[in-house]
């Protein structure tokens, strides 16, 4: 402060302030001018492989990394049974391939700590292995909802492709299937469904939110459309199940038909891709709490700092 105070009456001070201000706005503008985000690379290749799954491989993988908690027979291991080992897991009877695909492709399974809610992690297995495990669980422990193969799944990864050209082709394919899928949805229906069924946990922006008992609803923005669909179908953890059609009974969340799910997913995907029109700093779409925080820490603080500056006098050292 002293340093500025001493120099603020310098004849050049005014020019310096103007130059700094111009630089600030210039640099600022380059940030605001929205960088057009490249088309998000996605991929639709996986479902073709569902026809030729390898059940033997599925069994092997399951016994290797899932049976310790869910049991060889898939009947689950209770906490008391597990004792000090701490490796327990629920019964997988009738959970179906969709549940396995969701849990394994979002990296939740194999779980690292069965006592806590599993965060999303990079998947431990590739697409083929996941399909194999899912098919094995579905076949062995009684069927449930299958993998919704018509919903766009994993984005293509460059590492999975030999040549750049193949990768780009797959990306384009994925992109068009994504557009086709979301293009079929209805924004208004999707918005209403989302605001009625999901927003009170996942928040209006899909940014997630706190739940009771130390649980939380995660951010939806890294989930693929298929994972969103599967989450609704299987109701992971504290989330309710939203079954496909009205005549099936059981889901606590009620039923959302598959075309309604399509609208809902369209809403989530569109909102996520929507740029923040209001400025470079979108504040993570946290909303008013972040705005208030910035209003105090940046806004009023800067103004008060200015008040201190313009009233500052060179104090005699005393």
């Amino acid at each position: 402060m002293k340093w500025i105070t001493a120099r603020r009456r310098h004849p050049l001070a005014g020019y310096v302030v103007v130059i700094i201000a111009l630089a600030f706005f210039g640099v600022g503008y380059t940030f605001v001018a929205p960088a057009t985000s490249p088309a998000q690379a996605q991929n639709a290749s996986a479902e073709s492989d569902l026809a030729n799954v390898d059940l033997a491989n599925g069994r092997e993988l399951f016994n290797q990394s899932c049976a310790s908690c869910h049991g060889q027979d898939g009947k689950g291991i209770t906490k008391t049974e597990a004792g000090n080992a701490g490796a327990w897991g629920p019964d997988l009877t009738g959970v179906g391939a969709a549940a396995v695909d969701f849990q394994v492709s979002t990296g939740r399974m194999p779980s690292a700590n069965p006592d806590a809610q599993m965060p999303r992690k990079p998947a431990m297995y590739g697409r083929d292995d996941i399909n194999d495990i899912a098919a094995y669980v579905d076949a062995q422990f009684g069927g449930g909802p299958g993998i919704p193969v018509n919903v766009p799944g994993d984005k293509p990864k460059r590492a999975d492709f030999e040549s750049e050209a193949d990768y780009e082709e797959a990306t384009e394919l994925y992109q068009s299937s994504l557009e086709q899928y979301t293009g079929g949805g209805d924004t208004e229906a999707g918005m209403k469904l989302y605001m009625t069924n999901c927003a009170h946990c996942h928040s209006w922006s899909g940014g997630g939110g706190a739940l009771t008992d130390g649980r939380w609803a995660p951010d939806l923005n890294s989930a693929t459309p298929r994972q969103i669909y599967e989450a609704m179908l299987t109701g992971p953890g504290a989330m309710p199940v939203f079954q496909d059609s009205n005549d099936e009974v059981g889901g606590e969340g009620g039923a959302i038909s598959s075309s309604e799910k399509q609208s809902l997913i369209k809403f989530i995907v569109d909102l996520e891709n929507e740029p923040n029109a209001g400025g470079y700093f979108g504040l993570n779409r946290v909303g008013q709490v972040a705005e208030g925080f910035i209003g105090w820490t940046v806004g009023i603080s800067l103004i008060v700092a200015c008040a201190i500056w313009i009233t500052a006098k060179q104090r005699a050292h005393d």
Binding site: M195, G214, A312
Partner: protein
């Protein structure tokens, strides 16, 4: 610049000037007002931030009214914002989208209006805190304090209504909570809600009604109150911090013209720049992302604007243990107390404080010199307690975000706040008061001994002492001003003749005496302390805080100067 040095104005202008002056005698009035002085301390500029952001609010608000359509009529959107095309919404929401995407500069104006609102209320708060902590609300300024409280209250209401106008998701949710609090009113709740909303929530009339309140009624009242606030301020002048030449009668500062006017003008532009800078770079209230409100919508992660946060917080943490049912009618205390009671405590407490304090201290003198906060430790402590109470409620209003961001269990945050709002203010009070008293002790020491120079000198006898230098006359003046400001209130149980005064015998009298004692008991007395009279070797022996202590200091003071005193003198001349 004195008048005879001023360059002559061109003849034509002089003619106009004389014409006006002959009729309105402005020159005389102008001269007096232009010479008005303003104190030179940053904390006196805080109210100005409020004034400037209010002006910005008015201007940007007028811009918005040119396009905003306050109607709840239902339409299907077909404007230029693609994502929501074909979605049914109210005309209010659609016209806000229109301002955002089709009106040139509309989005920037909306964001300016919103950021200015946040800054406006924030500046009211800090301005009010300054006035509180310096005791500037005391006689003769109580009325202006009340006006200030009214402005603060209205500003919050105005903000709430503005927030509700675009009819987007947070608007509707805010109104829903507002209606919930209304419904909780015993007996009249349902009627009040039906009356205001013209039927069931949300109805068709609430936005037009809020609109006329938001753009006409409340701003008009605010404007009138602000004008009154300023006229009273102009008449009474600012308080000022104690210092050389500053007395209860004489104000020292920068004259209105030109120095202060230039400063103030610059300050306006700075405030404006910060608000516009925020509006250009930081997104606020992205209504296009929120989407329109429908009565079935409900979402996590939305809060009211910050100034409503304390109400949100009190609703969130207040338990439902006290809900009762009388003759079949539910009385939801869990909504009533936090929704209305806490607001009452806050605004009622603020409004009443000047009178409560005057009653406690029995101080009926006018005050134009500001208290240094440390010299009114109980008041400062209470203020800190109030800030803590408010701040915790405010934080509690964002408990879901805190829980999610910092990965604390939601229930844990609720309990932290439930306990915190009782414990926190007490701790804040105790700590603040201690700090104030500590500073008072330091002040007395500085007054008696000068300040510690950090130089160590060796006395002829071989002893080491730290050299104390004399404080500047300014500092001495500031320190000495203490005694005149916060008199210790003695509350003798009986007067000299052993007869209890009738006033102190009544219940209220006893209460008052108690409070007065509590209010001033711990103050460090400066009575009889002579500047720079202290014996340096007594340094460090100050731990008592009885009134005798000051006297002791002065006794020592005249005890002749020692070697170290001479060192002090010598060193003093070096600066």
């Amino acid at each position: 610049m004195s008048d005879n040095q001023a360059p002559q104005a061109p003849k034509a202008m002089r003619g106009v000037g004389n014409f006006i002056d002959d009729r309105f005698h402005l020159a005389k009035m102008g001269e007096k007002n232009l010479r008005k002085v303003f104190p030179n301390h940053w904390s006196f500029m805080l109210g100005e931030i409020a004034l400037y952001s209010f002006i910005i609010l008015l201007l940007s608000g007028v811009f918005l009214t040119l396009w905003f359509n306050p109607s709840m009529g239902h339409i299907v959107y077909d404007g230029s914002y693609e994502r929501l095309r074909g979605v049914g919404m109210s005309e209010a929401y659609a016209s806000t989208l229109h301002i955002t995407f089709d009106v040139r500069g509309g989005l920037l104006m909306r964001q300016i209006h919103h950021w200015a609102a946040l800054i406006f209320v924030a500046s009211l708060v800090i301005h009010m805190l300054r006035v509180f902590f310096t005791g500037a609300f005391r006689k003769p300024r109580e009325i202006n304090w009340l006006i200030g409280v009214a402005i603060f209250t209205l500003a919050i209401v105005e903000g709430l209504f503005g927030y509700s106008l675009p009819d987007d998701l947070p608007s509707g949710m805010g109104l829903r909570i507002f209606q919930g609090v209304l419904l909780a009113l015993p007996l009249i709740g349902t009627y009040a809600s039906f009356y205001l909303f013209g039927g069931e929530f949300p109805g068709e009339v609430i936005i037009p009604r809020l609109y006329s309140l938001h753009i006409l009624v409340i701003p008009a009242i605010l404007l009138a109150l602000i004008a009154a606030h300023f006229m009273i301020l102009w008449h009474q002048k600012h308080t000022q911090y104690p210092g050389t030449g500053r007395t209860e009668k004489k104000v020292v500062g920068t004259p209105m013209f030109p120095a202060f006017a230039i400063k103030a003008g610059g300050f306006f532009f700075f405030t404006f720049a910060v608000i516009v800078g925020l509006s250009a770079f930081v997104q606020i209230n992205p209504i296009h992302l929120f989407g329109p409100f429908t009565p079935t919508s409900i979402t996590a992660g939305l809060q009211p604007d910050w100034y409503m946060g304390f109400l949100e917080g009190s609703l969130r943490i207040f338990p439902n243990w006290f809900d009762i049912t009388i003759a079949g009618y539910a009385i939801p205390m869990g909504v009533l107390i936090p929704g209305l009671g806490f607001m009452g405590i806050l605004f009622g407490g603020l409004a009443a404080w000047p009178f409560v304090e005057a009653w406690i201290t029995g101080d009926k003198r006018p005050h134009n010199l500001a208290d240094r906060p440390r010299n009114a430790p109980v008041r400062t402590g209470l203020g800190a307690a109030g800030i803590t109470f408010y701040g915790l409620l405010w934080l509690a209003g964002s408990n879901d975000i805190l829980s999610h961001t910092f990965e604390i269990s939601l229930y844990t945050t609720t309990w932290i706040f439930r306990i915190g709002i009782f414990v926190g203010p007490v701790i804040a009070y105790i700590i603040t008061k201690r700090i104030c008293l500590g500073m008072q002790r330091r002040d007395r020491e500085t007054l008696e001994h000068g300040y510690e120079s950090g130089t160590i000198a060796q006395l002829p006898g071989g002893e080491f002492v730290e050299v104390h230098k004399e404080s500047s006359p300014e500092t001495v003046h500031v320190l000495e001003s203490k005694e005149s400001m916060t008199p210790r209130i003695e509350t003798p149980a009986a007067n000299a003749n052993g007869v209890e005064s009738p006033a102190s015998r009544s219940l209220m009298g006893k209460l008052r005496a108690r409070l007065a004692d509590w209010y001033t008991r711990d103050n460090i007395s400066f009575v009889g302390v002579e500047p720079h009279s202290g014996h340096h070797l007594h340094h460090g022996s100050h731990n008592g805080d009885g009134p005798t202590h000051g006297v002791q200091g002065s006794e020592n003071g005249h005890g002749g100067s020692t070697a170290s005193d001479k060192v002090t003198q010598g060193a003093g001349q070096n600066k």
